[in-house]
């Protein structure tokens, strides 16, 4: 806990402790967290330091799709559900991912590797239907591509695991 407190305090020291810095701080705290999210304790510390009520801080953190207040997998698969992707089969893409991962949107796989969520437009409408996985965008998806994508991430992770 103290370690978390120190980490967050140093982030706040760097960015600034005024209420207008809230979003920047939330992004950085999430980036540095191992589980890709802003924990409750972290949010409490931020709210105290910035003198913003916890409910408001939570309101902001739960509003933006790039922020999460729930533990997420190491790979966050964000399925675009804005109109162009939706029209071009985004709904099926969602189903492919759900089937292959065994979770529904909003959940995380038991091994902590993947989580699945929706996002607004990610600016690649020409490649609809598209998803964003962490910082990378993958477009023109179909069933095979989805399977290949998940497979390759799983393989990559296995290799990493052996290296320990």
């Amino acid at each position: 806990m103290n370690c978390l407190k120190n980490d967050i305090e140093s982030i706040i020291e760097k960015i600034g402790n005024t209420p207008d810095k809230l979003i920047e701080i939330l992004i950085e705290v999430q980036r540095q967290s191992e589980e890709n999210y802003i924990s409750k304790d972290a949010l409490k510390i931020i709210s105290k330091e910035l003198k913003i009520s916890l409910s408001k801080a939570y309101g902001v953190a739960s509003f933006y799709s790039m922020l999460s207040t729930k533990k997420r997998g190491r790979y966050v698969i964000q399925i675009c559900n804005s109109a162009p992707c939706y029209m071009n089969g985004g709904k099926q893409v969602k189903k492919y991912f759900e089937d292959i991962l065994g979770i529904t949107v909003g959940e995380m796989t038991d091994d902590g590797l993947f989580s699945l969520e929706f996002t607004g437009c990610i600016g690649t409408c020409d490649k609809a239907p598209a998803v964003k996985i962490n910082d990378k965008v993958y477009g023109n998806l179909n069933k095979e591509k989805v399977e290949a994508l998940v497979d390759s991430i799983r393989k990559e992770e296995e290799v990493c695991d052996f290296s320990f």
Partner: protein, 576 residues
């Protein structure tokens, strides 16, 4: 020329530049339905119910936040407008728990009114109502998310007027809700129980915790001696619910109906308001003489006490140790009164009628049992008493007037004004002046501390000392003064703070609506009670003098300390 000429429904109108379409329509008696709009709040433009047609504009415009421009041609009653409004309200109803008959706001609900006014006879959309659990984790406030229409009024009042921010908009798009952090109970965030969110809610989504059944139960129990006290601000507001004008004084009727309902004795909280003045006035003088912590701040508003415990614990020593009048009453009822009338205090039940929701949480504080029992057992808001009156079938309009019972029945004008912002200060100064100088205070109306303004200041010469005072109502205004104290910029001796805007007349348990216009009328009522009293200074109250002679001894004495004073505790905002 600062006027613009416009046409509304074919009628030429000239209004001030900057007027909104809604205001312009009101001027010529055209009523436009609204839901998120509230006369005391910022414009939100959330609900779109107030749309009108403006010539040359392809889309309908929200009238609450569209200012008029020169030559504007407006239609408020076209087919297109009527249909759009209906569709908007139908969408709200499709997502709403429409159980009006069992709803707390049945018959006083803005959504009900609007549905009737727009002639909604069916809802064309599928029902998508969410079943959300009732949040009754908080000792004062209940939230029913299934009734919430997401207008945002409660968020504004809690964040901006009270500076608390216990509830907020969370999540986005159709998952958006109004809730405390993590959608947890309202007792998991630092809510100060003020109930201001209730007063602005257009529907039945927030209300006070119901204590009516608890009170009926003790009234039915013949082994109990049930006494009731009535706060200063209730007598000028409750009439509104029975067709009287706001500010009408119905004290005698309240006493009478409480007796009919079955209370054994009906007492006046104004009595212990007088007592508060004696104790608090002496505490102030003691602090000034002995170099105690200054400025001293008042302690009768439990929402304010909760706020300072959470947000400014470093200033707790500045808060007067006097209990609130409600709690002084409870402590005396189960000690002095019990002894005097030879009633076993174990069988005494103390009920309070309060304009306040925070009083419900105050009476269950651990410290509030100095009589050896919980000093006050149940608190009913003004609105809850109205419900009890309806349940009992008593006709308040026809009822004869009665006086409060002894020994807590004789009160002064100074006590009456406790119900309005500035009142405690004025009452205290009337007494402090005479104690210090030994002379009679000639002009007893200290008008500088009266009125609805958020912050007021005055300097009153009391003998050799110029007493500097400040008065704040609404916690965000209190915050301004507290920050000044922390920065060493406040050289006041005495500060009065009330959590609710306008003071108790605007309390979270008062009749709805209670907007600024209504509050001003209630305030006039309060000062009329003061004027009508023969005795207008607390230290001249013969019943108070007798209480000290018979029981308490002297102000700040041993018995006073035990029964009438208390202490406060720092509270963590969030456990980390």
């Amino acid at each position: 020329m600062d006027n613009v000429n416009i046409t509304i429904n074919g009628v030429a109108v000239s209004v001030k530049k900057g007027t909104t379409i809604l205001e312009a329509c009101k001027k010529i008696n055209i009523n436009i339905p609204t839901l998120c709009y509230h006369p005391d709040q910022e414009l939100k433009g959330n609900c779109r119910v107030c749309v009108v047609e403006v010539e040359g504009q392809p889309r309908l415009q929200p009238s609450c936040c569209t200012p008029v421009t020169q030559g504007m041609v407006i239609k408020t009653n076209s087919k297109r407008v009527r249909e759009a409004r209906k569709a908007i309200v139908e969408l709200i109803l499709a997502a709403h728990n429409c159980n009006c008959l069992t709803c707390i706001r049945n018959n006083n609900c803005e959504l009900q009114n609007i549905s009737r006014e727009l002639g909604i006879d069916s809802v064309r959309f599928d029902n998508v109502e969410e079943i959300l659990p009732l949040d009754n984790s908080n000792p004062s406030i209940v939230r029913d998310g299934s009734k919430c229409i997401k207008c945002g009024r409660c968020v504004e009042v809690c964040s901006k007027v009270q500076g608390v921010g216990a509830i907020y908009n969370i999540n986005r798009s159709h998952d958006m809700r109004i809730a405390p952090a993590y959608e947890e109970g309202l007792n998991n965030v630092p809510c100060v129980y003020c109930g201001q969110c209730i007063n602005v809610c257009p529907v039945g989504a927030i209300y006070e915790k119901n204590d009516i059944n608890n009170v009926w139960k003790v009234l039915d129990d013949k082994s109990k001696h049930v006494v009731v006290q009535v706060a200063p601000a209730v007598r000028v507001s409750i009439g509104e619910e029975f067709g009287f004008d706001a500010g009408s004084i119905v004290t005698g009727k309240i006493v009478s109906l409480l007796k009919r309902i079955g209370f054994d004795r009906v007492f006046d909280t104004n009595f212990t308001a007088d007592l508060t003045i004696i104790e608090e006035g002496n505490e102030l003088l003691h602090r000034i003489k002995n170099g105690g912590k200054l400025p001293m701040m008042t302690s009768c508003s439990p929402g304010w006490i909760r706020y300072v415990e959470y947000f400014y614990p470093e200033l707790l020593e500045n808060v007067s140790t006097c209990k609130s009048p409600q709690q002084m009453f409870g402590a005396l009822a189960k000690s002095y009164y019990a002894e005097k009338y030879k009633i076993n205090p174990e069988n005494i039940v103390v009920v309070s009628i309060m304009p306040c929701t925070a009083k419900k949480a105050e009476c269950i504080r651990d410290e509030m049992n100095d009589s050896g029992y919980q000093d006050v057992d149940f608190v009913l808001t003004t609105r809850e008493l109205v419900r009890m009156v309806h349940q009992s079938g008593i006709n308040i309009n026809k009822i004869e007037e009665k006086d409060f019972d002894d020994p807590f029945g004789i009160t002064t004008g100074a006590a009456a004004i406790f119900g309005a912002t500035g009142g405690v200060m004025e009452a205290a100064l009337r007494t402090v002046y005479e104690i210090v100088t030994g002379n009679e205070l000639k002009n007893i109306n200290l008008t500088t501390v009266r009125g609805i303004d958020g912050i007021k200041e005055a300097e009153i010469p009391v003998g050799d000392l110029n007493v500097k005072v400040a008065v704040a109502n609404g916690l965000n205004n209190a915050k301004i003064i507290l920050d000044m104290i922390n920065e060493g910029k406040a050289d006041y001796h005495f500060i009065e703070i009330m959590a609710c805007p306008g003071g108790c007349i605007g309390g979270g348990g008062q009749p709805i609506p209670g907007n600024i216009e209504v509050k001003k009328q209630r305030m006039d009522g309060i000062y009329n009670v003061d004027k009508s009293k023969l005795i207008r200074k607390s230290h001249k109250n013969p019943a108070i003098i007798k209480l000290y002679e018979e029981y308490l001894g002297e102000p700040l004495g041993h018995k006073s300390h035990k029964l009438l004073h208390t202490h406060y505790a720092k509270r963590e905002l969030y456990e980390v």
